[in-house]
């Protein structure tokens, strides 16, 4: 990849977080084009969409692999050293993460790279039994510490707030020493409402605008395949990535940045579902006529054909409550979800099954979570229904 590797990650105070927007002209153009296409006879695309097939999972892993968040860790290292003070004058920095931003993994890697103590979250039983012994780690304030997710220290249960209350009290009294505490944006929104105490000063990874997102996705493809990949739009062959110029992203990436709120993990999941190939081609080793002199091509579904997912209304009355609880807890194990929700086990199981069948939920590392590609729609739905959402 001849483009110079840049670190797109930047951590900013919460008030400076800026969600990328699709440009007005592109939104209008896209809308008019959509209406126009409904009435006109379809012209022959350069590579008719029906001749293309979605990339198989193995190829997707190559051209759009998950991130290791190295750039974010690098950006945080200096900030963490500067903002956490010393054992004599300790302070705690909060790093807020949006769903799909990889915040917990980033902080875990940060602890390793700085040699700081990585504090494991209490298990749910410790939270529910209000086991204050979990807080013993705050007594040795010599080495700075990293707690990856404050959201995993509470449960939305009548006995589920004691540990987080005590933890914040110790942080506010400087008893815990210097450290970094991660917190999911939804958990933070909830805890700030429920606990009337000061929270540590927080930073958040700035949202990727379309240019940053384009560069990041190109980097992912390059890292995965070891060579430059050209992403071209399936209906007209125009280049989607890498961008032609450093000043303007393609329309697709512009829309992608807006829909994913600039969260790289969310954008990556939507991106992975838009990638196509010609039949019988394998990403990374094809030698067809689509291969330019300096790389290989992957086709991208036109943005107009990427469906705007709508949360179905027939999933039962428990579904919004369940989705909201999962977001407030940044995911829950199945059995714990059943314990926390005010429904019978049968009703909870039925709703989880319905949401899983609709692909809105998925199980990752033993926890039920909202699927990344569904997140924008679920957030819009819960917001419309009047539920508390994160501030971003």
């Amino acid at each position: 990849m001849n483009r110079k590797k840049q670190n797109m990650w930047e951590y900013v105070p919460l008030a400076d977080y800026a969600v990328p927007q699709a440009t007005i002209s592109r939104t209008i153009k896209s809308g008019i084009k959509d209406i126009w296409q409904r009435f006109r006879r379809p012209d022959t695309p350069r590579h008719p969409a029906h001749d293309l097939e979605y990339l198989p999972a193995s190829d997707v892993e190559k051209v759009a692999p998950p991130s290791h968040w190295s750039g974010a860790v690098r950006a945080l290292e200096i900030l963490a050293k500067n903002k956490t003070g010393s054992a004599e004058a300790p302070s705690v920095m909060m790093v807020t993460g949006l769903p799909g931003s990889g915040n917990a993994q980033i902080l875990s890697r940060l602890a390793k790279s700085l040699g700081w103590r990585l504090i494991p979250a209490p298990d749910p039983q410790q939270i529910l039994t209000q086991d204050l012994a979990w807080l013993d780690w705050t007594k040795s304030a010599e080495t700075p510490w990293v707690l990856c997710d404050l959201g995993k220290t509470y449960l939305r249960h009548v006995r589920g707030l004691t540990l987080v209350r005590q933890l914040l009290a110790r942080i506010n009294s400087k008893a815990a020493g210097p450290g970094v505490i991660g917190c999911d944006s939804w958990s933070l929104a909830y805890l700030r409402r429920v606990l009337p105490v000061p929270f540590p000063g927080a930073v958040v990874a700035q949202a990727f605008d379309d240019l940053s997102l384009g560069r990041w996705l190109s980097q992912r493809a390059h890292d995965g395949c070891g060579r430059q990949i050209h992403f071209r739009q399936a209906d007209n062959g125009k280049t989607v990535l890498p961008a032609d110029a450093d000043t303007k992203a393609s329309a697709f990436v512009n829309h992608l940045a807006a829909r994913s709120f600039g969260i790289p993990g969310i954008a990556l999941e939507i991106w992975r579902r838009a990638l196509k190939r010609e039949p019988d081609e394998t990403a990374g080793d094809q030698t067809s006529e689509t291969e330019p002199a300096n790389g290989i091509s992957i086709w991208v579904e036109p943005w107009e054909k990427i469906p705007w997912l709508v949360v179905p209304l027939d999933l039962g009355p428990a579904s919004p409550v369940l989705m909201h609880s999962l977001l407030l807890h940044n995911g829950l194990p199945w059995n714990l979800a059943a314990d926390l929700l005010p429904f019978s086990a049968t009703e909870t199981d039925r709703t989880i099954q319905a949401l899983t069948d609709a692909e809105i939920l998925q199980t990752r590392h033993g926890e039920l979570k909202i699927s990344a590609h569904w997140y924008p729609s679920v957030k819009a739905y819960l917001n419309g229904e009047g539920y508390l959402t994160d501030q971003f």
Binding site: R156, H157, L161, L340, P342, E385, G386, L388
Partner: protein, 264 residues
């Protein structure tokens, strides 16, 4: 000056067609708009439902005007004369019916209840499901439809729990033995409300205590996200609140005292 125009067969058919068309349009609007509203969420649903009676009124007024134009020469004097005569006749024959119709029109601008509101009239509590010209229908929590004439607007108290908004306050009551630590109880009840999955967290949670003959009464007042969840919310508060109080070792009143955990 002639009041009535010459009524021939064509004019009668035209009038009948207008009336039929108006009825069809009203029927369509009453079916289609709620269907669309059910596909919307939150406030948009309430706004969509609120247009149903308005659209019906517009259709009725338009149809009446067109029919009157066919029957009478629509000068100001003629209209007043006709309305006066109709008013006199109908006032005697259908006093209550006409009273309900007029009250139905008054509801359109006074808005004492809207579709989606939770109202209580003469002890009947439920969600307003439809508003007709003469009466409105409420669906009780026991799934019974009650038809209430608008005439009640003149003489009865109408209690509206959410008044067109999504915010409907619920209260869960707890009766405790007078010997207890009130700070612990308030904290437990507040945590119970704050951790309810149904809670509208942007609205306040209030705990009110009062001393009764047999027990100390605590009322936890809070709002659910969706007014339709009010009974589930109150149940959730009651059951989990009771559990939290029992964990504190709080005693409940002896037999003979009022029951604890009453609903909204």
């Amino acid at each position: 000056m002639e009041l009535f125009q010459q009524l021939n067969q064509a004019a009668i058919i035209r009038g009948a067609l207008i009336a039929a068309l108006a009825l069809v349009l009203i029927g369509i609007s009453q079916k289609v708009i709620p269907l669309i509203a059910d596909r919307l969420s939150g406030r948009q649903r309430l706004y969509a439902l609120a247009t149903v009676p308005l659209i019906r009124l517009v259709i009725i007024l338009a149809a009446l005007w067109m029919i009157i134009s066919i029957i009478v020469d629509p000068t100001t004097e003629n209209i007043f004369a006709l309305l006066g005569a109709l008013g006199l006749a109908l006032g005697f024959a259908f006093k209550d019916y006409v009273g309900s119709l007029i009250a139905g029109i008054v509801t359109l601008y006074e808005l004492p209840y809207r579709i989606g509101d939770w109202v209580s009239v003469e002890g009947v509590y439920g969600e307003v499901k439809s508003i007709g010209m003469r009466a409105f229908e409420i669906l009780t929590p026991d799934d019974t439809v009650v038809v209430i004439p608008h005439l009640k607007l003149w003489g009865e108290k109408i209690f509206n729990a959410n008044d067109g908004s999504r915010h409907l306050q619920c209260a869960a009551k707890f009766y405790l033995h007078p010997e207890h630590d009130p700070r612990q109880v308030i904290q437990a009840l507040e945590d119970t409300a704050m951790t309810s999955a149904y809670l509208q967290i942007s609205k306040p949670v209030t705990i009110v205590a009062s001393e009764g003959l047999w027990a100390t009464e605590y009322r936890v007042k809070a709002y659910p996200v969706d007014p339709r969840d009010q009974f589930r919310f109150t149940t959730d508060l009651t059951l989990r609140g009771k559990q939290a109080l029992m964990a504190l070792g709080v005693r409940f009143p002896a037999p003979g005292a009022p029951d604890s955990g009453d609903g909204a």
